[in-house]
């Protein structure tokens, strides 16, 4: 069997991801156990844990997806190694600051730190400042990283070519791999999101320094433009990787064509206005933006379902598919993306949102596409690259068992969120009041399922780890 060495930077990202993910899962299990009323002594840690878990998970899976996309990109364009080193150093520094403000300062404004809460909680001001500094470091690092990758793409493809516009004119030269197209779209959206984050942070600093208060509605728009876009594009980066790798397992090509170009260019436009669905319950937001939010959210389903999911199914249908841990995870990752997407589109209906907004339905759908979607795709890619470099023997039955453990754990855990959401159980409640006491039993079951998932993940990470060690010795 021929081997292909892995890049040492990717191996570092794998180590970071696999170190942080289980810790953050434990925080998730901790939260569900507190909500179930099992360890009420730890209740004061619920909101700090929620904040660390939320920011940590979004951050980890965003950088992991970026690392995979960069690794795939390096097959097609030349990346400056310093860029990757900067991304690793900045991310580690940001994480250290984040840990400090939550663990030492009990900072607990939630993952989207909605203005003006960070300045008005029970935590000390220094912890809020440290949190803002942490986000500044992370934001600046990722901003440079995104621009650097776009610059690397631009040395081989013009912007129009990287967005595939020449396909629209009927030309296919230069050939544009779909992964490059999707990565370009995601990076452009990422730059826009990070600019919005910079404005939010600047307005916070302005208030800290001069006392000049900001407009709460403006801040909420900026915050969700940033948060919504970042989470969505992380998912797209994972999909880009699937476009590149799945064909290798199916033994069939998955190429860019007119439809794929139209679809992903539309996604770029839609993803930037779909965030309005986070403000449906702010009735002072101009009405037209609310309706645009619903139309854009619905519209975003069409390229995803009819082009990407359909394309993936067509690729696999009756192919000589080589099923292993990686290809199974890719395939299941698309299932998670689709199911989570259905949950999202339902909730993006304004009249439905009036019943589901800020209930557990919200974490239900985003955990579906973050855990069973993005995380599956990324873990699949990590395994794929390490196995490619190490070429160890693969034990099919055991790997299928791991998949069953993770899938059963994850979907059981999600189902408790969906059910609780339908029963109007609010999200972000450390303790459920009597009227919503039924939230506690969903939480208890969820903690069990999440533990099952954790076991499956740790065993899977061990399988990746064995190959990782072998890959390290031959790393480039």
């Amino acid at each position: 069997m021929t081997t292909r060495p892995a890049s040492s930077q990717l191996l570092i990202w794998i180590a970071i991801t696999f170190l942080l993910f289980p810790v953050l899962i434990l925080l998730g299990i901790l939260m569900r156990s507190i909500q179930a009323g099992e360890i009420s002594a730890l209740q004061p840690w619920f909101y700090p844990a929620m904040t660390l878990h939320g920011v940590g998970m979004v951050g980890v899976w965003y950088v992991a997806a970026m690392a995979c996309a960069a690794d795939v990109l390096s097959r097609h364009v030349t990346l400056p190694p310093a860029l990757g080193r900067l991304a690793i150093a900045g991310t580690v520094l940001g994480v250290v600051l984040l840990l400090a403000c939550v663990l030492l300062g009990r900072f607990a404004a939630g993952w989207y730190f909605l203005y003006p809460l960070p300045l008005k909680g029970e935590w000390p001001l220094w912890s809020a400042v440290t949190f803002l500094l942490s986000l500044t470091v992370l934001g600046a690092t990722w901003f440079i990283w995104s621009l650097g990758l776009l610059w690397a793409i631009s040395r081989r493809f013009s912007l129009g070519q990287a967005l595939g516009w020449h396909y629209l004119a009927g030309r296919t030269d230069p050939v544009l791999p779909p992964s490059v197209l999707i990565t370009t779209v995601s990076l452009i959206a990422g730059v826009a999101a990070l600019v919005s984050a910079v404005i939010v942070l600047a307005l916070f600093y302005l208030e800290l320094l001069t006392g000049q208060a900001s407009d709460a509605l403006l801040m909420k728009n900026l915050t969700f433009f940033f948060g919504h876009t970042l989470v969505n594009l992380a998912m797209y980066l994972g999909v880009a990787v699937a476009y590149e790798i799945l064909p290798e397992y199916a033994g069939r090509p998955w190429k860019t064509n007119k439809i794929v170009v139209v679809s992903w260019n539309t996604v770029l436009l839609i993803v930037l206005v779909a965030y309005f669905h986070h403000l449906y319950m702010d009735f002072v937001q101009p009405g037209i933006l609310q309706y645009i939010g619903q139309v854009a959210s619905y519209a975003s389903a069409i390229p995803a379902a009819v082009v990407t999911i359909f394309g993936a199914l067509l690729l696999v249908y009756r192919s000589r598919m080589r099923w292993n841990l990686a290809s199974l995870l890719f395939f299941l990752g698309l299932v998670g993306w689709a199911i989570g997407g259905v949950g999202a589109v339902i909730d993006s209906t304004i009249s439905v949102n009036a019943r589901l907004h800020n209930t557990l339905w919200v974490p239900a759908h985003f955990h579906t596409y973050m855990v069973a979607g993005l995380a599956f795709l990324v873990i699949g890619y990590f395994y794929h690259r390490c196995q490619e470099a190490a070429a160890l023997r693969e034990s099919k039955g055991y790997h299928q068992l791991l998949i069953v453990l993770m899938t059963a754990g994850a979907y059981g855990f999600f189902l408790m969120f969906y059910l609780a959401g339908a029963f109007s159980v609010p999200r972000r409640f450390a303790v459920y009041p009597v009227e919503i006491g039924h939230g506690a039993s969903f939480a208890g079951w969820a903690a069990l399922f999440a533990t099952l998932f954790l076991v499956g993940f740790v065993l899977t990470a061990t399988e990746v780890g064995r190959r990782w060690r072998a890959a390290l010795s031959s790393a480039t």
Binding site: Y47, K220, V284, Q294, V316, R355
Partner: protein, 318 residues
């Protein structure tokens, strides 16, 4: 112009501005503005303990130093303060930067204030899970059905790889065209059906009653007149027990005095029937027609720090 503004200034100076309300009233105002969000007098515990009879319960010196510096007392390990802290969900009572004099006025007010008439109802500790009904149940069913279809399709495709064969891409593309049309028609149809049901206030809907809601960390205040700042709390009369009439359209005008909160209205069957956000600096206008009589509850649906899950208020529909 200048004369007019000068007159206005004189008028303002001459008027009994809120802060200078009747002497002896300082204690009450301080209490309503700074303490009532977490405490009651005789209506039971909320975020912190019921303060009825607290003057008899604790020595005056202890109370003065606790009210002026609860965080210091807890940090210094004062046994009573630490016990209270443990008992009340380990939420540290905020240091409100009060002077000893203000603390004295507060204790005086607490001593005089008659415990609120209604004795706290016997605490219910457990309720059965409500039935799943209404739009939420239809939404869940729809979601489960679509998810099942997704799982079936993916399973079918995965199993198909047992019999590999070359696939006719052009036929697949014509299937895709059909799917595209179906998806567009379905989503457009749903848009047409659901957009008109958006809960936003529309011209022509005349509410029979307007109720103002001011949210703050960690309670809701109902009133007939708007309350837009802490300075107006204790001046503008509030409605202790809000009673609405069945089938009568009411408009809630919801704002916040500090951070973002959520105004989540739960019906008698303990499901969300309507909601809007409470955002500082804005009034969100929520139109609501109560169709079922009974006890309603409002819970905070936007995370607002340690007391978030304890922030609630009751209202009744007759």
């Amino acid at each position: 112009m200048r004369i007019a503004s000068g007159l206005a200034l004189l008028f303002i100076l001459a008027c009994p501005v809120p802060a200078a309300a009747a002497a002896g009233d300082e204690g009450r105002l301080l209490y309503e503005r700074q303490c009532a969000a977490c405490h009651t007098i005789g209506e039971g515990d909320r975020i912190g303990p019921d303060l009825a009879g607290v003057n008899e319960r604790r020595p005056r010196d202890w109370l003065l130093s606790f009210v002026t510096g609860p965080d210091r007392m807890i940090a210094a390990g004062d046994p009573v303060a630490v016990r209270l802290y443990e008992r009340y969900n380990r939420i540290v009572m905020p240091n409100l930067n009060l002077s000893e004099e203000q603390a004295g006025q507060l204790l005086e007010y607490l001593a005089l204030a008659a415990p609120a008439a209604a004795a706290p109802a016997a605490a219910v500790t457990e309720l059965p899970r409500p039935a799943l009904a209404g739009p939420q149940s239809r939404v869940l069913q729809l979601f489960l059905v679509i998810s099942a279809v997704i799982v079936l399709v993916f399973t079918w495709v995965a199993l198909s790889t047992r019999n590999p064969v070359e696939v006719d891409v052009h036929r697949a593309y014509s299937i895709r065209r059909v799917l595209f049309v179906i998806a567009v028609v379905a989503l457009a149809g749903l848009l047409v059906l659901t957009l008109p049901k958006a809960p936003y206030a529309r011209a022509g809907a005349e509410p029979a009653r307007v109720v103002y809601v001011a949210a703050r960390q960690f309670d809701f205040l109902f009133s007939e007149e708007p309350i837009v700042s802490t300075a107006e709390v204790g001046i503008v009369p509030t409605l202790a027990n809000l009673v609405l009439t069945k089938d009568e359209l009411v408009e809630f005008r919801v704002t916040s005095l500090d951070v973002n909160h959520g105004f989540g209205l739960y019906g008698p069957d303990r499901q969300i029937v309507a909601q809007t956000q409470a955002m500082p600096g804005y009034f969100n206008r929520l139109l609501f027609r109560p169709l079922a009589p009974g006890e309603y509850k409002v819970f905070c649906l936007e995370y607002c720090a340690a007391g978030h899950h304890l922030m609630q208020v009751r209202l009744t529909v007759n």
